[in-house]
């Protein structure tokens, strides 16, 4: 089946099987920042933005998002760089496997919630697991990123 996706502001056409998942389509086409993890929507590392909202690309059929907008970390490079500075400063990353998905989720949260409380930030990020950091550094980094108006 032919599917058109607006990926990172560029229209792309793909030929996919009906049962192919978005994470596989993206990875097959070199969007390798989209990770494969649990493959059951539980870990969050496959998160991409679909029409601006974080979704688990491991569980969305590519045919179901025909003519929709998909954003991977490459599509928000400037914001990702900024966020990564804050992460670095707080010692909030280690292996980096979950970072693209986390950055996309934080970016979506920033657009969706106005002045989120610490509790709201935690709630929003519940589905993004990180096995290295223990989350405290991440929370601090995200807070300072949200307050950074530069």
């Amino acid at each position: 089946m032919k599917v058109n996706l607006l990926i990172n502001n560029e229209w792309r056409a793909f030929h996919v099987e009906a049962g192919e998942y978005l994470a596989d389509t993206l990875r097959r086409n070199d969007f390798l920042s989209v990770r494969r993890g649990c493959d059951t929507t539980s870990c969050g590392v496959c998160t991409v933005l679909l029409d601006g909202k974080p979704v688990p690309s491991c569980s969305i059929l590519t045919v179901a998002v025909d003519n929709h907008e998909v954003t991977t970390i490459e599509g928000i490079q400037k914001e990702a760089d900024k966020l990564s500075d804050h992460f670095g400063r707080e010692g909030a990353d280690q292996c980096g496997f979950c970072n693209p998905a986390l950055a996309l989720t934080v970016y979506a949260m920033k657009k969706e919630l106005k002045n989120p409380s610490d509790q709201e930030i935690r709630e929003y990020l519940v589905g993004n697991l990180c096995r290295c950091t223990g989350y405290i550094g991440q929370e601090k980094a995200i807070r300072s990123y949200l307050e950074d108006l530069s």
């Binding site: 089946m1 009906a18 049962g19 998942y21 059951t40 929507t41 539980s42 969050g44 998160t47 679909l50 909202k53 974080p54 979704v55 688990p56 491991c58 569980s59 969305i60 059929l61 045919v63 179901a64 989720t105 709630e123 929003y124 990020l125 519940v126 589905g127 993004n128 697991l129």
Partner: protein, 267 residues
């Protein structure tokens, strides 16, 4: 799950006709649970573009389209007002935002998951379901059907009762299924109590409800007795998450606590 073909119908009649054409054809909600299911689907039918994402207000009720995502429900001002915001509170407890951005209320109902937080809340809210072929049926009756016939769930209808409500889910982590979930709705005239993930599916605690609804004064003693009735009338079981004695104890403590909450201004 293996999907051989994917179909975008032009109307509900088209969707239903396609569904009935082959026992291996299925409707897709968000597809999150289908992904985990074994077997092969000949044609997966999307309900996109048929207007079923809406959450709409009627004079006496709120109508929720079967394709509304759990996140849309969680963030809807109409749902926040509905029976003390119970459905919003339950939706918030399902995994993370990204799953809730795809999982639908329709999939949550037709899936009839015994652990479902959504079903427990909807049962306490006395939700009515509107199917394409079957028409309207109370969720409570739908859950009693052994193997419901294939159909398309279109709408969920919930009365706009002026109610206090409370929901609790006990789970080992935020991403886990419930060890037990409990929802209580209190209107001026009645109290409704639903428990799920016992680990069997959600049910109403009818004896406890009758006792509360017949009690002239709702005192601490009455709440204790009602909580005891909950533990006596409902079955609890063991699974990997917890044993039945722990569940029974939780049911007692949470029933009492939530009854107090809905009868004060806390809820």
């Amino acid at each position: 799950m293996k999907v051989l073909d994917y179909y975008r119908p032009t109307s509900l009649a088209d969707a239903y006709e396609t569904l009935m054409r082959n026992p291996q054809n299925q409707i897709m909600g968000g597809g999150a649970w289908l992904k985990l299911s074994p077997g092969e689907i000949t044609t997966l039918i999307t309900l996109d573009g048929l207007g079923l994402e809406a959450i709409a207000e009627q004079p006496e009720a709120v109508l929720i389209g079967a394709k509304a995502t759990l996140r849309a429900i969680e963030t809807s001002p109409l749902i926040a007002q509905l029976q003390g915001g119970l459905l919003r509170d339950a939706a918030r407890h399902v995994m993370g935002v990204s799953l809730r951005n795809i999982a639908t209320i329709g999939g949550s109902i037709v899936g009839r998951f015994s652990f479902s937080d959504i079903l427990t809340a909807l049962l306490a809210m006395n939700a009515q379901l509107v199917f394409h072929a079957r028409g309207e049926i109370a969720l409570a009756d739908y859950l009693l059907l052994h193997r419901p016939e294939k159909d398309i769930l279109l709408w969920i209808k919930i009365e706009k009762d002026n109610a206090h409500s409370a929901f609790r889910k006990v789970a080992r982590t935020r991403l886990d299924f419930a060890i037990l979930n409990l929802a209580i709705v209190k209107t001026r005239a009645t109290t409704t109590i639903a428990l799920g993930s016992r680990p069997q599916g959600p049910v109403l605690a009818k004896r406890a409800m009758a006792y509360l609804n017949e009690s002239a004064n709702l005192t601490e003693k009455v709440f204790e007795q009602a909580a005891r009735l909950v533990t006596e009338e409902l079955a609890f079981g063991d699974n990997l998450k917890a044993g039945k004695e722990y569940r029974r104890h939780l049911a007692y403590v949470l029933s009492k606590r939530l009854l107090k909450a809905v009868n004060s201004d806390e809820s």
